[in-house]
Amino acid sequence: MSATKAKARARSRAGAQRSAKSRARSNAKARKTQVQAHRPEPQRPQPKPRRNFGPGLVAVPLLVALAVRGRVGFLADPDIRLWATLFVSVCIQALPFLVLVVVISGLIAAFISPDLVQRLVPRRTALAVPSAGLAGIALPGCECGSVPIAGRLISAGTPPAAALTFLLAAPAINPVVLVSTAVAFPNDGRLVLARFLASFAAAVAVGTWWARRTGQSLRDTERQHQVSSGRIASFVDVASRDFVHAGGYLVVGAAAAATLQLVVPRSILDSVAGSEVSSIIVLALLAVLLSICSEADAFVAAGLPQFSLTSRLVFLVVGPVIDVKLVAMHAGVFGRAFALRFAPVTFGVAVASAVIMGQVLL
């Protein structure tokens, strides 16, 4: 048992802090003790209780794909081909960012100790949550990458509420996204400001909500792995694991997004841009269903001039914080129960924040 962990446990036992952080820690502790309790059993029944997923599982599908190429008629169907283009393009687009993010994630695991995080992150939620939100400015990119980073930050001891605020803020308020919004809406400078403020407010509100929930902790993503033998080994291990983990769910999300893009064609929108309320509802739902990358969504919004500016602001605020791709990733990284609770709250808060900001600024 490492000195760090013993200290953390002593601290939480003292009850000095009732923060989510200390709860998460003691939970992890409890689980670990359990694992340890099993350990002394001298003989384990069989060393390989599960099938071993080896390289064959990569090779076999690829060979099958090669075998059916050009031979199966339905693969030439225009809709299937369009689906494939959309699906593959979302995956390729996300790949560099996912790699960047797992590299950061590996570095966090290899070089940032829970003690350091404790020193860096402000104790008080009222301070920690907004500063985590502002830290989101520093992660240029779109939403799919923030999920593994947030998971890793929690593993490294960041209070979940702060990590979640970061998760929500980063894809919406970073410079790349704001600049692309400004380019897409050259006549509406206030929209950029409104997007920044509404997204930030929504992130902080959800973070604060999470901090207030008691008795709730995230499924702690394999915290015990953060100390591995050797920095390079630990870096490679965490980066690879996070890549495989988040990547798998990203693929699920990309498939869902590609399917929905085909099932919900954007052209049907012309018929529903009637009243303000229905525009807001339709665009909010569309943001969730289409799962467009936050660097690109402003151009899509700019292409919907029949909708009011406020309803398009809703589209821009909702999309980066919650969509089908993200729900899949949240379920994977934080657990299904979390995703089910987190999604509706985030959706509601984002819509409300955008509508209010729209009334004030636009």
Partner: protein
Amino acid sequence: MTRLGRAALLLTLGVVGAVLVTFGGFGQFVQQRMRLPLLVAAVVLLLLGLYEAQGGIRTVRSPRDHDHSPHDHKAGNCKANTNKANTNKANNKAKSGTHDHGTHDHRVRSLGPRVGWLLVMPVVVLISVAPTALGAAASGRVAPVRPTRTNTEFAPLDASAGPIEMRVYDFLERATFDPKRSLDDVPVRLEGLVVNDPSAPDGFLLTRFVVSCCAADGSPAQVTVHGSPQQLADDTWVEVDLIWRPPAQPYSETPGPIVVEADASRVVVSEMPDDPYESPYS
């Protein structure tokens, strides 16, 4: 997932990424500016994969370690066996975190959940369906591009040396926004793909998709071309010399989506360019 399995996954994706960048195939799916990020990502994946493969091969060669203390290998210390790890445990606090949970079940999960195998799906789709750039099939499904522009100053056009080559998006911008109507009677050369549509019985919709990140956010920039000398199939790439047909009443006063029309003087079938898309950034 075994370490070798994970290595195979990382290497596969790294190789596919590198191939897509090297042979330019990535341009059908994402913007050209993704070239460098994609290449870097592919290299990182290859390095991670090689490291994992090397660790995995050692694990396979010494199966006793493999069963009980997989983490030893991450230090590159393949000689350490289970007993040694156990005796070391008390002394080596830094390592304790990794040695306290050696059940096989846990180790399998720790190397990545089964969902990770889905990462092979994009490659499977890429190979089996061999998808191509957005084309006619996508055109009807997505609202056409609507140019946005603040400044209505356009550089004058000089067509004395023949038709002026222009991006379809820029053509739409000039047609829609230029108060001086610089396109009047000026021959312009556009490149795009053919989308046949009832609205252009004597021609086609000359289409170029505008993509800001990836094909999933693409929307078509379209010019309705009249007077095409021949009937062309959907998705044929063409180079068209044309002259803008000014609208009967200003676009801003026409209800519904903006339709920019033009009369073709020459239509030549061409190859798909390296970058089939246009960027909304000019």
